[in-house]
């Protein structure tokens, strides 16, 4: 450019000037591109980071509470079932022993006179004991409801693990393609929301002590009061 200027060659000077400007613009465009892709990467990272922060700060601790509650539900149900079985066993033993004694007495050539009264007593005892056994069996059945409640909670935690896996996968993808050419989309995670989130339409699963579900009823009496207030 300086040679063209010294030689007074206006055309050569103009051409050199245009070339200089083009090279400068090209450099600026490239820098802008790098800044833009960096920004894009940062935005994606921010979306994934926010998701991970929410998962780490809220949903994972909630899941821990939920699993602890499942443990308690299964523990309570197992103990209740065993309590009821333990109550039934002596009743059954008693009836069997009394029946054995009566059969032996009945088989004698000359049964003792009070056997009639003993049979009467035995039948009365059998009726009472069997009613207790029947009641306990019904309660054993009802106690198995823990499987439904714990199953719903475990399903929710499984959905959370899926979501966590997706968010971590997105993070790895973004970290591996930090120049902005990556295809990781943080918003993909939105389609995998756990069972516990979203609207009421699908339900939220059982309410777990220590996990905030918003205003909730506490037992059947609460439900009945609410229904009564609603005119039912």
């Amino acid at each position: 450019m300086s040679q063209a200027l010294a030689a007074g060659d206006a055309q050569a000077f103009g051409a050199a000037l245009v070339g200089f400007d083009r090279a400068r613009n090209c450099d600026v465009t490239m820098r802008v591109r790098i800044v833009a892709s960096g920004l894009q990467g940062a935005l994606k990272r921010f979306q994934v980071d926010s998701k991970l922060i929410d998962l780490a700060h809220h949903q994972v601790p909630d899941a821990r509470h939920q699993l602890a509650y499942v443990l308690r539900l299964t523990d309570d149900a197992a103990h209740r079932t065993m309590d009821l079985v333990e109550q039934c066993c002596p009743l059954a033993d008693q009836i069997a022993q009394q029946a054995e004694r009566l059969i032996a007495a009945h088989g004698l050539a000359a049964p003792p006179e009070p056997i009639k009264a003993q049979i009467g007593q035995f039948l009365k005892q059998t009726g009472t004991s069997m009613a207790a056994v029947r009641s306990n069996l019904s309660e054993v059945l009802l106690t198995q409801g823990y499987q439904d409640l714990s199953g719903q909670i475990i399903r929710g935690v499984m959905a959370l693990v899926d979501e966590l896996e997706q968010a971590l996968g997105d993070l790895v993808r973004i970290a591996g393609t930090d120049t902005g050419t990556g295809t990781g989309t943080a918003s993909d995670t939105d389609s995998h929301s756990p069972a516990g989130s979203g609207s009421n339409a699908r339900g939220h699963g059982p309410s777990v002590p220590g996990v905030n579900h918003g205003p909730a009823v506490c037992g059947q009496q609460d439900v009945d009061d609410l229904l009564s207030n609603l005119g039912m």
């Binding site: 019904s138 009802l142 409640l149 339409a201 939220h204 309410s207 579900h213 059947q220 439900v223």
Partner: protein
């Protein structure tokens, strides 16, 4: 003993369906069928001769609330008594179920006495209407 009810129990957990079915048998209801979500329940309701529905809320496929709405929207099934038996405990959910036309709401875990009381109450109000 009330053997005249033909009941459909809808719950995705087979253990819970067995529990409810056994309790209903104890209460004298011998005719009890099962479905595992709203999608399987609806065709059964439309083709069958059911006159009482007991449904869970949170189920894969069609949830209980949607099943309730579909039942209420159906000309033939619209008047069927529906008892929601669910672990869903949010107050606004119960309000939503009432608005959708539920006849009773039992929260899990429940007792045999509660189930009996709610069915009896629904049937008594039906008889009085």
């Amino acid at each position: 003993m009330q053997q005249n009810l033909n009941i459909l129990v809808v719950d995705d957990f087979s253990t819970m369906r067995r529990i409810i079915k056994n309790l209903l048998h104890d209460l004298g209801y011998a005719s009890v069928s099962e479905a595992d979500d709203g999608n399987t329940a609806l065709p059964l309701l439309k083709s069958g001769n059911f006159n009482f529905l007991i449904t869970d809320w949170n189920m894969p496929g069609m949830p209980g609330l949607e099943l309730l709405k579909q039942v209420r929207a159906d000309a033939r099934l619209g008047n069927m008594p529906v008892l929601m038996l669910t672990a869903e405990a949010k107050r606004d959910q119960i309000v939503e179920a009432v608005q959708a036309g539920v006849n009773g709401y039992v929260i899990k875990p429940f007792t045999a006495a509660t189930l009996k009381e709610k069915i009896d109450k629904i049937m008594a109000s039906r008889a009085a209407a």
